[in-house]
Symmetry: C2
Subunit: 179 residues, 2 copies
DNA sequence: CCAACCATGTAAGCTGTTACATGATTGA
DNA sequence: TCAATCATGTAACAGCTTACATGGTTGG
């Protein structure tokens, strides 16, 4: 059951509450989730695909020409499967923005142990990737970097360090929450 | 002359030195530029397109079955046009990773004024986007965030703040460099 | 000589983009 | 009533992914 990022984003939003296609478009249009496309040409076909896979159902209950999408049990389990995967070094290196999206959808499951496990895997992957970046800086290729290249590398490293501090803070917050 | 991110990435790498398709693949495979696909099915068609647009030329000088790509004057001017654009809020919100890529390619031009202008536009766009995110947190939607949503938002804000500190540092470094 | 790697290419299929198109509802 | 916005769709096209395919070169 492999969906695209957009498919999972829609599934995650529908796990929070049933919604119309138009309202989902507005989430991408008007909130900080703006990295996803809000064009009808992407949203409606993506929703159609979720319906075809029976991960969501389409209810025509509202005013004509307006339909609500609900997540199904199968959809919820597909979402949980996606959210439960440990964060890998590849996730950190290639699609860091998806990690925070997955984290925010973990709210729908609201399982303290699962959340802390997720954050811990994120932390480990960050450590590994930071090790790789530091090693790269010390390698032959790293040594011949110009001012531009060095500054760009430093920017990347600072970003991951910021993530690392955040993850520490987040783990602490969840560890302190009553079960 | 609108290329995809991959097209610009290849053009930028070729502005540094002529290279083979295979070597370019290895850049995406083996260095921190790993967010781009290194598969032959993406690289070779993208290079073909650059050749068709006469932004690069293909030289069969080396051992048979191995060919070098060189950037042309037209290619260099297309790259400069891309790099010279001011960073917008939309760039910051939707594709932050491209901003640092563009910065690192500014090395090929090596123009202090242009570089500082680029960094300044980045800084301004960051300020605007941070204002937007803070306003969102204080809005009705921001106030009803759960622990998960709030932490995810904080992560985003911290990332942009880290960029802001980096940009301040980078501007200072370039301002101090002898002309 | 054989495995591993170098080096390039192509074809099928899916996704997303852009642009266009339609009709309903709401507020001035 | 008229414009703006709500709400959904579709068709053409470009791009990337995956998988497959081919042949050259190098080192043990």
């Amino acid at each position: 059951m492999n969906l695209t990022s957009l498919g999972y984003a829609l599934l995650g939003l529908l796990s929070q509450q049933p919604n119309t296609g138009y309202a989902l478009r507005n989430v991408f249009e008007l909130t900080p989730m703006g990295a996803f496309s809000s064009s009808p040409g992407s949203i409606y076909p993506a929703l159609d695909k979720l319906v075809k896979l029976t991960l969501v159902v389409k209810n025509q209950k509202l005013a004509k020409q307006k339909s609500l999408y609900h997540i199904t049990k199968l959809g919820r389990s597909a979402l949980v499967a996606w959210l439960s995967q440990n964060v890998t070094v590849s996730d950190v290196a290639k699609k860091p923005e998806l990690i925070l999206l997955r984290f925010s959808f973990l709210e729908s499951i609201n399982d303290k142990v699962l959340t802390i496990g997720f954050l811990t895997s994120f932390k480990i992957a960050l450590c590994q990737h930071l090790d790789y970046l530091h090693a790269f800086m010390l390698s032959a290729q790293g040594n011949q970097l110009s001012t531009y290249g060095r500054l760009a590398m430093e920017s990347g490293i600072e970003q991951y360090q910021t993530h690392w501090k955040w993850v520490e803070k987040a783990i602490t917050e969840f560890s302190e929450i009553s079960n």
